[in-house]
Amino acid sequence: MASLSEEVLLVVKKVRQRKQDGTLYLMAERIAWGPEGKDRFTVSHLYADIRCQKISPDGKAKVQLQLVLHSGESTTFHFANESTALKDREAAKELLQQLLPKFKKKANKELEEKNRMLQEDPVLFQLYKDLVVSQVISAEEFWANRLGGVTNTDPAQYKYKQEVGISGAFLADIRPQTDGCNGLRYNLTADIIESIFRTYPAVKQKYNENVPHNLTEKEFWTRFFQSHYFHRDRINTGTQDIFSECAKQDEKGLKSMVVQGVKNPLVDLLSLEDKTLDEGYGVCGAQPSTSNSNRTVKESSNYAIIKRFNHHSAMVLAAGSRKGETPTDQASETSSTDGNSRDSDFFQPPVKKVKLQEEYEDLQQENRPKTVPLNLKKSDRYAHGPVPLQSQQYTTSQDIINSVNYIQHEMANYKPNLTQVLSSTVATSAISALSPGGVLMQAGAQQAINQMVPSEVQGELKHLYVAAGELLRHFWSCFPVNTPFLEEKVIKMKSNLERFQLTKLRPFQEKIQRQYLSTNLTGHLEEMLQTAYNKFHIWQTRRMMRKT
């Protein structure tokens, strides 16, 4: 049953579902249907669960709306009100069209993000498998700290999303295709429609007024393209055109833009007039007035085209900066057409007062932060290596002289005697010292632990360490335990650790024992777990003492 707090957005009576009469309710977060006469809903779907909606084609007798869920199920609603069936269905469809995208993105985005993270980081994936799949901790705990980026900054992300701009040629891109016999087909996509609405808010307003009450979409667009509003020479503002108002508004808008003036006061466009020398040189004659009567036909059509180009460009640029606040902008546009509005006043003072920027920041000298010079008093300390001061053997100068003399005497008659370098006994003793088990090879036996343990065991041990590390991190981050939430978490984490030890560590230990590996690979892990248990025990006893 719907909770009282749910906001009902739309109620449609006489909607049949599975051959039963009933009422369709569209709420803030879900769509529901209840049979007639009964209080409860038999069908209820969250918008987040709905993948898409489908409608029956226009020609069919039955007016239906189908909802397809993510799980593959579909529910069909038959609008059975004779007079307003189509209208009802369209209303429901529109509302759903607006609501579904909001919910769809949220649900999918989280899953997508999780999947992406798991795929990108194999260590994370392994951790997930070890901890969540084997049910040591629950999935929510696992994702609690990692998904902070996605869920918390969701609105912020939308803010930073770049808006798609409008192509200046969007109208020109709708190339009409000849229909065979004197007709033209215009292919309108949703993107083009959106561009038209964003650039020409007047058209959007007309659309909202007329569709679906007076005209269908198809009729609206047909009239749009037929109207002189759209065509090149807009001299004759048509009479029965619904778009004639648009044209008038456009002219007003253009005038207001001209009146507003150029925003950059340094570019003095007014000085860029055509200066006439004489008749025949440059532009001569009076400046073209804006009244229609003075112009020749050709001039006025050129004028019209240029005006339309300028207006189109200005509207495209304005649409890019407008960002969706259409109603207020339109109001401001029309309000500023009363001659010297406050906007134009606003721009006059800066024109007079502006000065050229005389100092450019990046051409000036760098202002580095003030630093303190390093002042080393005893720099010879660095030169001394990590050789502890030992009392050097003191050699007297007499000793030195003696030794030098001796060696010089010896080497004066040096002749290499390469056949007497080694005697066999000496050589064999050296070889035995170098053979495995010899004097020099002792250290090797202790260091070969990574050669004695097979690599799968090593890999498993690494996974155990990663998983244990993750659990211990959660455990130790709970201390100091200040809030009841942390208390619960600490207790939960302790049971998680015990479960981990039971389900993962013990089997691993048994396995390596069976393989006769005498090395103690898991001693350190056990130590870490025991420290955690001790800490928990101490905390628990303290808590008991505080309570009593």
């Binding site: 005893k378 290596g385 000793d399 003696n402 010089q408 050296a430 170098l434 020099l440």
Partner: protein, 290 residues
């Protein structure tokens, strides 16, 4: 043996500190500098005999300077007449006999010429290593250091620079230590990927050199060789020169101390450490009995 055309250079740096060797000759007459040089020659010959493209260089590291024993300036290569070269008369590969003769000649010159000045008793190993690095630029090379005397603490900075330069150029530094362990050479071997060995019997130097240090890097992976030693990388504090595991580092000049002091003695920066705040005990208001 790999049949590469790649030139492989072995540079042997021999510590010929006369004071140490002079004392050694008096301690143990069966192992003197002559014997050591014989063993070095054996290894050098073996290396050159392993492949035609192998090259050898020998540097003698003395108290005051370091000399190239081979190849020396007086070597003209194949242009030499041949009288000295083939004087060995035992049908030896000419290159080997030439090399041996040159080495012998040079070492005689080095040991006799050096007039002993001053009282430095330490070997200039860093300089020899630097020379070795320069000579091994264009080809795949490695350095074998045969060390006799103790480490010189004054050469520390130069030594470390040489080690890192070798690491960048992928030049291995191996060390065969005769007398006392050398922390600097241990670090050098660890950083560049070479082997460090302190031999228990000096007399068997030749055997150790052939067994452990003759094979090059690719061949070593197939052999069972002495495992790498544990290197002590602890830093020494600037105040006492004790090796410490946990210490205090000045954030301005990066000097290391074993105890906290509010002013760094090297750069005279003053430090403030926030003490944990004292929590004032709250006085509980007594409930008034009604």
């Amino acid at each position: 043996m790999c049949a590469d055309d790649e030139v492989s250079l072995l540079v042997i740096v021999v510590d010929v500190n006369p004071i140490w060797w002079g004392q050694q000759a008096q301690r143990e007459p069966e192992f003197t500098l002559s014997k050591c040089l014989d063993a070095v020659m054996v290894v050098g010959n073996s290396h050159m005999a392993m492949a035609r493209t192998n090259k050898l260089a020998v540097i003698a590291s003395h108290c005051q300077d370091s000399h190239f024993l081979f190849p020396s300036k007086s070597w003209r290569g194949a242009d030499n007449g041949g009288d000295d070269a083939s004087s060995s008369g035992d049908g030896k590969y000419e290159l080997l006999s030439v090399a041996n003769n040159l080495i012998a000649e040079e070492i005689r010159n080095v040991m006799s010429k050096s007039e002993y000045k001053g009282n430095s008793t330490e070997t200039l190993l860093a300089g020899s290593l630097a020379k070795a690095l320069c000579s091994g630029q264009e080809m795949k090379s490695r350095i074998l250091v045969i060390k006799a005397a103790e480490d010189c603490a004054r050469q520390y900075m130069n030594f470390m620079n040489v080690i890192f330069a070798a690491q960048k150029q992928n030049i291995l530094i191996d060390a065969c230590v005769l007398d006392s362990d050398s922390g600097l050479l241990q670090q050098a071997c660890d950083i560049t990927g070479g082997l460090y060995l302190k031999i228990p019997q000096k007399v068997a130097l030749g055997q150790y050199l052939l067994w452990v240090f003759l094979p090059d890097l690719e061949q070593r992976s197939q052999l069972v060789l002495p495992p790498p030693a544990h290197v002590d990388y602890r830093a020494a504090c600037f105040c006492h020169r004790n090796l410490i595991e946990i210490g205090y580092v000045c954030s301005v000049c990066l000097s290391i101390f074993c105890n906290f002091s509010p002013i760094c003695t090297t750069c005279e920066t003053a430090f403030k450490i926030q003490l944990p705040q004292m929590v004032k005990p709250k006085k509980k208001k007594l409930k008034q009995p009604t």
